[in-house]
C-alpha cells in the first residue's frame, strides 16, 4: 500500500483542488476558487480537515465531465512527473513481486484514479466528490480519507481483495500515516515528516529518503 501524498509525490492533495479551481468556468469563479483553496491550505497546519473540506468545496457546480477531464490532465501532467524515482522503483518492485498494489490518497477519485491507472495500481482508495444531476456539490462523500486512514476501512479492504495485512508492505510519509504503517507487517517511511521519522526510529521501521535525486535507505529491518 502506498500513500500518494508525501510518499509517492511531493504534491499535497489540495494542489489538485487548486488546479481544478483555476480551471473553473468563468474568471470570477476561478479567482474565488483559487483564493479559497489557498486560504484553506494555509489553515491546514492547524486542522487538516479545514483544507480537505474547504478546498474541495470550491469545486461546487463543476460538471462531472470537467472534473473527470481536468482530473486526468492533472494526474498525467502534474502528479506523474512529481513521482519520486525511488518511490517509482518501489512500486515497480512490488508489482514485479506479484503483490496487489493499493494506492491511498486524500485526493479525489478523479485524480487518484488516473494516477493509479498510470502507475499500474490494482486498487485505489481515495475520496469521492458528491455529484447531483451531473454537478459536484462540493462535499466529499463519507467515509473520508484524511491525513489518517481509518484502520477499519483498511481491514475491510484487506478482507475484500483479499490480502494479509501482516504480510503486506505499506509506504507513508507523514504522522497521519502512522496508523497505516502500524497495521502492516512491513512498514516503510518515505521522506517522513519529523514525527513519522521519530516513530520510525522508535519502532525500527526502514526509512527511504530521496535527496536531490539520490535515494538513501536508512536503517530498519526490511
Amino acid at each position: 500500500m502506498f500513500r500518494l501524498e508525501g510518499a509517492l509525490s511531493s504534491l499535497p492533495a489540495w494542489s489538485g483542488a487548486m488546479w481544478l479551481a483555476s480551471n473553473a468556468p468563468g474568471m470570477r469563479r476561478r479567482i474565488f476558487g483559487v483564493g479559497g483553496v489557498a486560504l484553506s491550505a494555509s489553515l491546514g497546519a492547524r486542522d487538516p480537515s479545514i483544507t480537505r473540506n474547504v478546498a474541495w468545496s470550491m469545486l461546487r457546480g463543476f460538471s462531472e465531465d470537467r472534473i473527470a477531464v481536468l482530473g486526468e490532465d492533472f494526474a498525467r501532467d502534474r502528479v506523474l512527473p512529481s513521482i519520486k524515482d525511488e518511490a517509482r522503483r518501489l512500486v515497480d518492485q512490488a508489482r514485479a513481486s506479484g503483490h496487489t498494489l493499493v494506492l491511498i490518497s486524500e485526493s479525489i477519485e478523479a485524480i487518484a484514479g488516473p494516477v493509479g491507472e498510470l502507475l499500474g495500481f490494482d486498487r485505489v482508495l481515495s475520496n469521492v466528490l458528491e455529484l447531483e444531476d451531473g454537478e459536484a456539490t462540493g462535499v466529499l462523500r463519507e467515509p473520508l480519507i484524511g491525513t489518517e486512514v481509518d484502520a477499519r476501512r483498511l481491514r475491510e479492504l484487506a478482507a475484500s481483495v483479499p490480502f494479509d495485512l501482516a504480510r503486506s508492505c505499506a509506504y507513508g510519509a507523514s504522522r497521519g500515516d502512522g496508523v497505516l504503517l502500524s497495521l502492516v507487517g512491513l512498514p516503510c517511511a518515505i521522506d517522513p515528516d519529523r514525527e513519522l521519522a521519530r516513530m520510525a526510529r522508535e519502532l525500527d521501521w526502514p526509512v527511504v529518503r530521496s535527496v536531490r535525486g539520490v535515494d538513501v535507505v536508512e536503517g530498519g529491518a526490511r
Binding site: 468556468p25 468563468g26 465531465d65 470537467r66 473527470a68 477531464v69 490532465d73
Partner: protein
C-alpha cells in the same frame, strides 16, 4: 389510402433471416454517393455484407471527369474506403468489379437523369433504390432545395417504381418534425404540418415554385444575388408559417409528405437520422467529411466569442455516421424482407430517447477540449488568452441578444473611422511630421484586422440565427423503437456488425477522443479554405465499371483511369448529386 400507409407502426410478418442473408445477391441503386453519409454507407455495406449482389451508385460527371472517374478517385483516395483497401489490397479492383457499378445521372432530372438504354438494363435487376442525395444547408435556395430534396426524392421513387423490387429507402431527417418540444414518433400524417396546419403537399410545391419563378422574373438576371436572397426569405417565411424552422427541414418534410401520398403501391421505407457526426469506428474513429452541424459550433467555441445562446438542458441529438450506416442497413434489410405498400416504416436514428447528450454538456466538453488544445499552443494569443476563455451560456436567444450586433457595429464603426484616418487632417503638424507615416500605417493594419473581425462577428451572428431552432427554441425527443427492436432480434454476431449502437456511447469519450479530433482534422480546415487530407493514391488494378447504354465501360474494353485532379469541393450540400 391503405391502412398500412396510415399506420406505419403496425406489425408485419417478417421472416427471421439474418441481415447478410437478406442482402445476399441483392442489387441496390444508391444516390448521393459523393456525399458524407452515402459514401460511408456504401463502404460499410461492401465491408460488412460482401455477399451483396451489386451496389450501383449514381454519380454525376463533373469538371470533365466522368461519373466512373469521380467514383474511382473516391475509392482510391478517400479515407472512407481505407478499410476496403486494407482488407482487399491489390484485389480490391477485382472485388469492386464484381460488386460496384457506376451510373451517370442527376437526381434533379426525371428518372434520375439516367440514359433510357441504361435504365433498360438496370431496372430489371434492381431490388431497391436508396435515395441519400440531399442538400443539407439550413438556408438553401428553395429552387435548389426543391429540385434536389423534393423532386429528387420523387424521381428516385419514380425510378424505384419501375424496378423489379419496387422498393425505395429514402433518407430524410428527424427534424422534419418541425418546431416544438415534444416526443416524436416514427410516423407521418400526410398533409399535416408540425403546427397542425392542413396543406396539400403537391399544391405547396407548386406554390413555392411559382413564387420562386415570379421572383426570378422580377429580379433575375440583373440581380442574381438579390433574387436568391428573396427566394430564401420568402421560402423561410413559408416554412416557419407551417412550423418548420428552415428550408432544409421544410423541403425534406415536403418530400416525405409527397412520398406518403403516392398511390402506385411502391414500398417506401423512410430513414430519419438526427445530427450525423464523426464515425465511432467505421471507416475509423473520427472520420468526417464536409461541414456538418457541430463543425461551425466548434469553430465558434474556438474564437473569442464565448456568449453562446444554448439551452443547457436541451438535447443535442448527435448520431455517429457509422451508427446511421448500421441503422440504414437494418432498414434496407427490413424493406427487402417485408415490402409494404406506400410508406411502410419510418426509422428514426437518434440518441435523444435512449442515450441523450445535453447541449450544456456538449458545450462544456467542447470548451474543455479547446482549452486543452490552446494551452499547448505555441501562439501566445491562443496560449494565454483563448486557453483561459470559457464559453458562457447566454440568457437570451441569438435573436434577442443585443451583444453580438452591437459588437459587430462597434467594430465596423471603428474600422470605418480608421479607414478615414488621414494624418494630414487629423494630426497637428508637430505630431504629423514625427509620427504621421507610422500612425497611418498602423491605422491601415488595424482597420484590416477590425474589418476581418467584423466579418467574423457577422458570420457568427448569422450562424447563431441559423442554429437557434436546434440550440435554443426546440427540444425534441425522437423515438427510435424500430431500429432498437430490429437490433435486439439480431444474432450476437450480426448485432456486433449491424446493431444500432448509440446506447453504448460514452459521450465524454466520444466527444473528446472522436468528435473533436475528427472535426479538427477533417472538417474545420475547410472553414479556413484548406482541403481535407486525402490518402496517398491507391491505384486500382482495374477501372470501376460504369454502366452505359448497351454495355459497361469494362465490358466494352474501355479502361478508364481516374484523373487525379482537384478534389471535389466539400461544402454543405455536397450530398447532392
Amino acid at each position: 389510402m391503405s391502412a398500412a400507409r396510415m399506420d406505419p407502426m403496425a406489425p408485419r410478418d417478417v421472416d427471421d433471416v439474418g441481415v447478410r442473408e437478406t442482402l445476399r445477391g441483392r442489387s441496390v441503386l444508391v444516390t448521393g454517393v459523393t456525399g458524407f453519409l452515402a459514401k460511408v454507407w456504401v463502404a460499410f455495406l461492401l465491408d460488412r455484407a460482401p455477399g451483396i449482389g451489386r451496389v450501383v451508385v449514381l454519380a454525376r460527371g463533373k469538371r470533365g471527369q466522368s461519373a466512373a472517374a469521380r467514383m474511382q478517385r473516391i475509392i482510391e483516395r478517400s479515407p472512407c474506403f481505407r478499410p476496403l483497401r486494407e482488407q482487399h489490397g491489390e484485389r480490391l479492383g477485382a472485388f469492386l468489379a464484381e460488386k460496384l457499378e457506376v451510373v451517370d445521372g442527376d437526381v434533379r432530372r426525371p428518372m434520375l437523369g439516367i440514359d433510357e438504354r441504361v435504365l433498360a438494363r438496370l431496372l430489371p435487376r434492381l431490388d431497391a433504390v436508396v435515395n441519400v442525395a440531399g442538400l443539407t444547408d439550413f438556408s438553401i435556395d428553395p429552387r435548389e432545395g426543391i429540385a434536389v430534396n423534393v423532386r429528387g426524392a420523387n424521381h428516385a421513387a419514380d425510378l424505384a417504381a419501375r424496378t423489379a423490387g419496387r422498393r425505395l429507402v429514402h433518407v430524410s431527417t428527424c427534424y422534419v418534425a418541425g418546431q416544438g418540444s415534444r416526443e416524436v414518433d416514427e410516423r407521418i400524417e400526410p398533409g399535416r404540418s408540425p403546427n397542425g396546419t392542413r396543406f396539400d403537399p403537391e399544391g405547396e410545391l407548386l406554390a413555392i415554385e411559382s413564387v420562386c419563378q415570379s421572383i426570378d422574373e422580377r429580379l433575375e438576371p440583373e440581380d442574381v444575388a438579390g433574387a436568391r436572397r428573396e427566394r430564401i426569405e420568402t421560402g423561410t417565411k413559408r416554412a416557419l408559417a407551417l412550423g418548420w424552422p428552415n428550408l432544409y427541414t421544410y423541403t425534406k418534410a415536403l418530400s416525405e409528405h409527397l412520398l406518403a401520398q403516392r398511390e402506385d403501391g411502391l414500398s417506401i421505407t423512410v430513414v430519419r437520422p438526427a445530427i450525423v457526426e464523426c464515425a465511432r469506428s467505421f471507416p475509423f474513429a473520427g472520420w468526417n467529411e464536409g461541414m456538418n452541424t457541430s463543425g461551425p459550433l466548434l469553430w465558434l467555441i474556438g474564437t473569442v466569442h464565448r456568449r453562446l445562446p444554448f439551452q443547457a438542458k436541451h438535447r443535442f441529438d448527435v448520431v455517429p455516421v457509422d451508427s446511421v450506416a448500421r441503422g440504414m442497413t437494418l432498414a434496407l434489410a427490413d424493406a427487402l424482407r417485408a415490402p409494404s405498400r406506400g410508406v411502410g416504416s419510418i426509422w428514426q436514428l437518434a440518441s435523444s430517447d435512449h442515450n441523450p447528450l445535453m447541449l450544456g454538456r456538449a458545450l462544456d466538453l467542447s470548451t474543455i477540449a479547446r482549452r486543452r488544445k490552446y494551452s499547448k499552443s505555441d501562439d501566445p494569443f491562443e496560449r494565454f488568452v483563448l486557453a483561459n476563455l470559457d464559453s458562457v451560456l447566454a440568457e437570451r436567444s441569438a435573436e434577442e441578444d443585443p451583444w453580438l450586433p452591437a459588437a459587430r457595429k462597434a467594430t465596423r464603426a471603428l474600422r470605418d473611422a480608421l479607414v478615414g484616418f488621414d494624418p494630414e487632417h487629423h494630426l497637428p503638424r508637430a505630431l504629423r511630421e514625427r509620427f504621421g507615416t507610422s500612425l497611418a500605417k498602423k491605422a491601415r493594419t488595424t482597420a484590416k484586422t477590425l474589418g476581418s473581425a467584423s466579418r467574423t462577428l457577422g458570420q457568427v451572428e448569422q450562424m447563431l440565427h441559423a442554429y437557434q431552432p436546434f440550440v435554443w427554441d426546440d427540444d425534441l425527443v425522437f423515438r427510435t423503437n424500430r431500429v432498437r427492436d430490429a437490433s435486439a432480434t439480431l444474432s450476437d454476431e450480426e448485432r456486433e456488425a449491424f446493431g444500432f449502437d448509440v446506447h453504448e456511447i460514452d459521450w465524454r469519450r466520444y466527444w473528446l477522443e472522436v468528435q473533436i479530433p475528427g472535426l479538427d482534422k477533417w472538417s474545420l480546415p475547410l472553414l479556413h479554405g484548406e482541403r481535407a487530407p486525402e490518402d496517398p493514391p491507391f491505384p486500382l488494378d482495374r477501372a470501376v465499371r460504369e454502366l452505359r447504354g448497351g454495355e459497361s465501360s469494362e465490358d466494352s474494353g474501355v479502361i478508364e483511369r481516374a484523373h487525379l485532379g482537384a478534389p471535389a469541393q466539400m461544402a454543405m450540400g455536397e450530398e447532392a448529386e
